[in-house]
């Protein structure tokens, strides 16, 4: 058969910085050969707000409200790392109860982040309906956050040595209600999405990254785990009290967009289970129970000991970061979120280097999209899960 061959000139098109289906202000300069992508160059920096420099003349208390603006969809994690860094440097003890409250908050935040990721990812591929479903569930997490912290997204809840306040009355009951409800809803999403032939065609085998490449590019989080590396900092670093909960690292070996989807959905299930366990195991139980026990047992009871406090000691506004330097990291929903902190026995840190997972995961994008079709860019970019707030900081 004779094929008529047409050779078109290569075309360079600009996507962004404010393309409606872009995740924030990211600009992609894409070189096309017909519909095939020859090259892609991301241009960053439109949302740069000098977060690291700002940290250098703020005390930790002053800086805490800023950090929720890095990754504004997984806000608890940014706060966690901001208090963990000076905490570890100054050896501040964290009561067990506070640690449990933190874990619950972190896992709720992880579910919220993955839910929104799911909605936008599916919307990128062209299915708009799940977007509204995930917002319905995410709203509930934010209601829980609002009740405990006072704000839906910009919580300002974590403190050096614990959290700002204990959980309100009835919060654990409602949190339990929510987790049970969420587990059902994840089944519902899976019924809607996972086996859908259109979805499968769009994501299976798209944006493949091998195990070696994933490690070489320094990927972390679901991006790394979907490529067959069983690496979760909650298991690796044993921070907070994650060892006391029974859960499994979610991972897959395919390394394509579908694997990343499955890993994230699996993580949401695991997070729900972890919260349900934490509700049962939290020292002192619900706040109302703790109060009652304190009244019953009198002022010198064990219920007033360190383990049952929500904070070891209220941090003073002039908390000094001791001299020394170290790197602290947590497993955020997007990957490894780290802080390299250098203190010089001053209220301000000397250096506050942020290692954002989104920034490092985004680097691999040109390699992933090369050779694919232009319509796959959105599917691949969606599966990387970037938030420009933390990429540009």
């Amino acid at each position: 058969m004779v094929m008529i061959e047409t050779k078109a000139e290569r075309m360079v098109i600009n996507m962004g910085p404010h393309h409606p289906s872009m995740h924030g202000v990211l600009r992609l300069i894409v070189t096309l050969d017909g519909e095939n992508i020859v090259d892609c160059e991301p241009v960053l920096g439109y949302l740069h707000r000098s977060m690291e420099k700002i940290a250098e003349n703020r005390t930790i208390v002053q800086y805490l409200p800023y950090v929720t603006r890095w990754d504004y969809l997984a806000t608890m994690f940014t706060e966690a790392i901001t208090v963990n860094a000076p905490e570890k440097l100054a050896d501040v003890p964290v009561p067990r109860r506070a640690s449990y409250i933190r874990m619950m908050m972190l896992e709720l935040s992880r579910i919220a982040s993955h839910l929104l990721w799911l909605g936008t990812f599916i919307a990128d591929i062209g299915a708009q309906t799940p977007f509204f479903y995930v917002f319905r569930e995410r709203e509930m997490i934010y209601d829980l956050f609002e009740a405990a912290t006072g704000m839906r997204m910009m919580h300002n809840y974590f403190r050096i040595g614990g959290v700002a306040a204990d959980l309100p009355y009835g919060w654990l009951d409602k949190c339990e209600d929510y987790c049970k409800y969420q587990l059902e809803k994840i089944d519902e999403y899976e019924r809607l999405i996972t086996n859908n032939p259109i979805f499968r065609k769009r994501v299976e085998g798209v944006g493949k990254i091998s195990r070696e490449d994933a490690i070489n590019w320094g990927l972390s989080g679901p991006m790394l785990r979907a490529s067959g590396v069983k690496w979760d900092l909650r298991k690796v670093d044993h921070y907070e009290l994650y060892d006391e909960l029974d859960w499994e690292v979610q991972w897959a070996t395919e390394g394509d967009c579908l694997a990343r989807y499955l890993v994230r959905v699996g993580e949401m299930r695991q997070s729900c289970k972890m919260i349900l366990q934490a509700i049962k195991q939290i020292p002192g139980g619900s706040y109302e129970n703790l109060e009652a026990q304190r009244v019953l047992a009198g002022p010198k009871s064990e219920w007033n000991s360190l383990d049952y406090q929500f904070i070891s000691k209220k941090p003073s506004p002039t908390f000094k970061i001791p001299a020394g330097e170290h790197y602290v990291r947590v497993e955020a929903p997007k990957g490894e979120l780290g802080i390299y902190l250098i203190g010089e026995n001053n209220v301000f840190p000397w250096r506050w280097k942020i290692r954002p997972p989104g920034f490092i995961n985004l680097q691999v994008l040109p390699q992933l999209v090369r050779g694919m079709k232009i319509a796959d860019i959105m599917a691949i970019l969606g599966s990387v899960d970037i938030i420009m707030g933390e990429v540009d900081r």
Partner: protein, 198 residues
């Protein structure tokens, strides 16, 4: 011929599979016909902000000792504390106090660290004005009491998830006066005393 038939068979199988999974997905969609909308029809319905909600800041002039802790813990040193030292009573006298809510991010640090509790957060969140300078509240404006959603006859108040009764997940499904989840500490004390027999 066999090749052709197997192709047709494969195609039919794929089509049936696709129809099955799409049907499964549509079941989820149609299931929503028996569910209520969860959207809140603002401004006819309003959510009741939580007890810890960080809205507009309330300030009590007489309690303030002009210590300026609020300024030191604020990320941008926003509160303006205008005081003068009175040598007769050997105390600082507050002349005026103001916070610009066009700049404030409602982080609540000032409220948390205020030693005399003269600052507090209200449940007021709708602060929009036509001129941004109107948002610069002085001590008189800061001292005004907030309005309540539950006291507005035009508004149907709806509670957020954390304040609903146990087992209820939608704000529309419960009246806002119904009891929320969780027992009171007093009730827990009574229960434990009843079981232990004192």
């Amino acid at each position: 011929m066999m090749k052709f038939l197997s192709k047709v068979g494969e195609y039919a199988r794929d089509a049936v599979q696709a129809a099955k999974y799409i049907g499964q997905g549509m079941m989820v969609t149609f299931d929503h016909m028996r569910r209520r909308p969860i959207t809140v029809r603002y401004p006819y319905e309003k959510l009741i902000p939580s007890e810890r909600f960080r809205g507009r800041i309330h300030f009590e002039f007489d309690k303030c000792i002009s210590c300026e802790v609020c300024v030191r813990v604020c990320p941008i040193n926003l509160p303006v504390v205008d005081w003068e030292y009175n040598s007769e009573i050997k105390k600082k006298e507050l002349k005026s106090y103001s916070i610009d809510f066009g700049v404030c991010i409602f982080c609540g640090n000032c409220v948390e660290y205020c030693p005399t509790n003269c600052l507090s957060m209200t449940e007021e969140y709708d602060l929009s004005t036509f001129d941004r300078h109107e948002l610069n509240f002085d001590n008189v404006a800061l001292g005004r009491l907030p309005t309540k959603v539950t006291e507005d006859p035009l508004v149907t108040p709806i509670r957020e998830l954390a304040y609903l009764p146990k087992g209820v997940l939608e704000g529309h499904k419960a009246d806002h006066r119904e009891r929320r989840a969780g027992k009171l500490p007093v009730e827990i004390i009574e229960e434990t005393q009843a079981t232990t027999g004192n």
